[in-house]
Symmetry: C2
């Protein structure tokens, strides 16, 4: 109880924890920047705003060790945090990583570090600091820092706006269902579960071409559309059958599948879906429209053959 | 496993977690800013750099529930994180708070929120986002964001620089020793343990008057002097008997007492200790000098009556 914490941004003095931090920093190489002070110091491009978000991945809550390697776990934790920057069309400035590490995970820390490095490399960003503590369960809390000139927001939808979604949904849910049943998930679905990508470049491309609103899909399309509708004070009408999904995924499963890290975007005009697909190799699909408030307030209308159907329920993070 | 996280910066839709977040945000009132998007957006003053740090407080590792109220725990977690900004002479822009909450702690969340609010109010800053998850043990991971024109750094010491420390040390260690023995700690010591303050205004005052190097005391004076010496590639010679301490604290205990959140600062010239004390109501005490590297490399020489004495050992955060 004498002392409380260790910044990765420490001077790496003597002691076991410092050896571990030093070994992790060696894995990161040039992707570790400015570790050596109480806090990271960086520049935000002139005229840009700072964008900051924090995201936690906890063993047994957000991931299962049987389903993911330590490297996967490290990579996914960083990518999930970076996805919040993508939702704002921000450019990453770097991440801070707070690790809480049980004894039985210490031998896996360098593999986790490699996964962190994978995500940093893909996103072209760096780790600027962090913190390591002993704990009863593994958790990785990532702060993503970025900059943006004009952010996409959840509140940016107006009645009449078109609603699009990137990529093809359902892979993570299909994988979880298969693994829970002891079955082998389809390869494409498994790849989406193990290695989701934050849509950073995609988001900036869309913001530069007319998108004004966005949210990333972490809770599931249905739930995240609700967040978007609530923040924008609109209703959103979605054509269930238009929802893009991987082969073998039902429309319903595509709506509830979480941890997709695809983007829902809104735009007043038509977005260039062909140009998008050519640029990024994934589809951009129009799935519905924002409409004015009905008597029942902000929300989502999921339509199938002209009939409104129930939206599969959301997920309470405190109850899982 | 369907979904992974919830930003406090969410649109506060339906569900138990959102009710909790909404209730916490109500406690924060105007101190909660911009909760409602995937990430916080803020401005860094033109010409300033961004400063960012992350700090984790875990139940049973960094605090004990028997010793601190939930409100104390919330306040201390934020203050510890803000102390990293103080070490850089940065001005806070806000904090992000990631809470991992076991079922048995849910009833205490509003008290923790009140403690967070206490710290935000004292520092004149705000909460700009966060995250809440279920977990096996309570942890509070705080990202402190700030801005600075010219940061104090650990590497800013030069041979000949004077070394100062703010406040009076030993209160936390004295309190922990007393509580561990089932005794009642002295009032002043207990206050230093329960409610340490980040030296934000003090640090900016010192930076404006010639300080060039700083570190906050989290691991203990001896250990943090080592970090400073290592980062600056100097030796630091400290007069043990000059170390300012609370009544009843031995010099040795003052050197090992952690979680002080007082500052060690270095300056080429003499700092205005009288003006400092008049301004802030706590002492600023010169305790030693930086000296050139001896054959034994960077480090700390603790001197007592002209004799070098051993420095009480550091603390490994992974082994506690």
């Amino acid at each position: 109880m004498t002392s409380s914490r260790t910044n990765i941004a420490a001077s790496l003095g003597p002691g076991g924890e410092f050896d571990i931090i030093r070994a992790m920093a060696a894995r990161w190489g040039a992707r570790a920047v400015g570790l050596g002070d109480d806090a990271a110091v960086m520049s935000v491009p002139r005229g840009d705003s700072l964008v900051a978000s924090v995201d936690t991945a906890i063993e047994g809550r957000h991931f299962r060790r049987e389903w993911l390697s330590p490297r996967d776990i490290g990579r996914r934790a960083i990518n999930a945090a970076l996805s919040d920057l993508a939702a704002m069309a921000a450019t990453p400035l770097g991440v801070l990583v707070a690790l809480a590490v049980p004894t039985e995970w210490r031998a896996s820390l360098l593999d986790i570090a490699d996964g962190i490095n994978d995500a940093l490399t893909s996103a072209g960003t760096v780790i600027r600091g962090g913190n390591i503590s002993a704990a009863a369960e593994l958790s990785i809390t990532t702060t993503a820092l970025g900059s943006v000139h004009r952010a996409l927001t959840r509140s940016g939808l107006r009645p009449g706006d078109r609603i699009y979604v990137t990529g093809e949904l359902g892979g993570p849910q299909l994988t979880i269902d298969a693994l829970s049943d002891g079955a082998t998930p389809p390869e494409l679905a498994l790849a989406r579960f193990v290695n989701p990508a934050p849509r950073l470049a995609e988001s900036r491309w869309l913001a530069a071409r007319g998108a004004t609103a966005a949210i990333d899909i972490s809770d599931g399309l249905g739930q995240d559309l609700r967040h978007l509708a609530a923040a924008s004070t609109v209703r959103i009408e979605v054509d269930l059958q238009a929802v893009p999904r991987l082969p073998g995924v039902s429309a319903r499963d595509a709506v509830v599948s979480g941890e997709e890290y695809e983007l829902i975007v809104g735009a007043a005009g038509e977005l260039d879906v062909v140009g998008f697909s050519r640029q990024f190799g994934i589809p951009l699909t129009e799935i519905g429209r924002a409409i004015g408030l009905a008597s029942d307030g902000p929300g989502v209308d999921l339509m199938e053959g002209g009939t409104r159907v129930a939206i599969p329920g959301g997920h309470d993070h405190l109850s899982n």
